[in-house]
Symmetry: C2
Subunit: 215 residues, 2 copies
Amino acid sequence: MAQEHVIHIEGNLAVPEVVVMRLPQYLRVLEALAEEGTEVVSSEQLGLRIETTPAQIRKDFSYFGKFGKQGRGYSVRYLLAELRHILKLDGEWKVGLVGVGRLGRAILSYQGFAPAGFKVVAAFDSDSRQIGQMVGGIMVQPMHRIQEVIQGEGIQIGIVAVPAADVQRVVDRLVECNVRAIVNYAPVAVHTPQNVKVRNVDPVLALQSMTFYLP
Amino acid sequence: MAQEHVIHIEGNLAVPEVVVMRLPQYLRVLEALAEEGTEVVSSEQLGLRIETTPAQIRKDFSYFGKFGKQGRGYSVRYLLAELRHILKLDGEWKVGLVGVGRLGRAILSYQGFAPAGFKVVAAFDSDSRQIGQMVGGIMVQPMHRIQEVIQGEGIQIGIVAVPAADVQRVVDRLVECNVRAIVNYAPVAVHTPQNVKVRNVDPVLALQSMTFYLP
DNA sequence: GTTTGTGAAGTATTTCACAGCC
DNA sequence: GGCTGTGAAATACTTCACAAAC
């Protein structure tokens, strides 16, 4: 296997983050292909679906092993299983939500997390009017119980849907509770130790980075 | 000004897209600084806020001109105005929403778009039970009126919050109506002509690209 | 003394192109 | 004949380092 600038860090192969960010997209296309009943797919066909080059796809896969057969392509089922394994998506992750406002409620009733392997098992809010309410089958807990619940339930991932002003405080709290992956819906950058991953889901940034290209 | 691989295309300077994607983040930090009453800021201070290097910030700005003063730094007010101008955020953009389900309703009542310069002025749905309802001060229109309304109101940007299966059809429709910037909330990749920008707002992809790094 | 703006240097990422295998 | 896997080449992006400006 190619080594390049690829090095071992704590027993884990250092794959470029851009590559990791593309894997879930490949996964999604493969899931669609599997549902359509396609059994074998080439890097070229995948490239058409995802609007990238066949070479990029093959190179991306090559960071993890050899999954195809020359002259044939990739077995959809096999590649799907391998990618799920690589991304650690072959099990179920438990997720805790902080913030049960309008957005938080939409998140709690969103049906797209479960089939992707993410189960929201707890929700927290600091507003006493929310606490104790049932939303999407989950009872809203007070913030002061967060450590207890996260550790009791074995929650590894946080979703933060609180006002911008509260985000950093909430994220710090989650980090204290040993959560190392956080999705932040608020339009603010947060600071975390580098062993904690944060992804922002931010429609305003998305809009503001497109207007540059508009006439 | 440095030329590098920077070339003119249809009278527009070809700035790397990564740079354009960072500008809104600088804008946000500058807005926070302005509110705090800070008048001058150095690339180093900006770098600390946004977790990047001073050199990157200076290089990014250099694609557009010279905005600072040696020995001093950048005037927050002036840089803010320049960045708003570069990103074409010194006016107001009109936005049309397609899909008034739970998510669409959360989007319509989200208070974060207006201060950023985006005004949602129309909403569409194909479900006859939604049509005619008032949501967030806007009356939901039937899909067949989309061209008429988009052109009548001068809408330049679309937000799509419909089920995955309908996204491509809706996006095609928006493109026909001359919309050239689209935010897609559904977990699917869409295909558009390359003069149409699409940004996905997708919490599932965000989650799936973090689990790789979890133990 | 401080900090910008920027060529040049250094990395990272993508694409090429082809040997090897099916 | 077709398609993968991969070094090597090409391109893109980031960081360095320093002259010029204040």
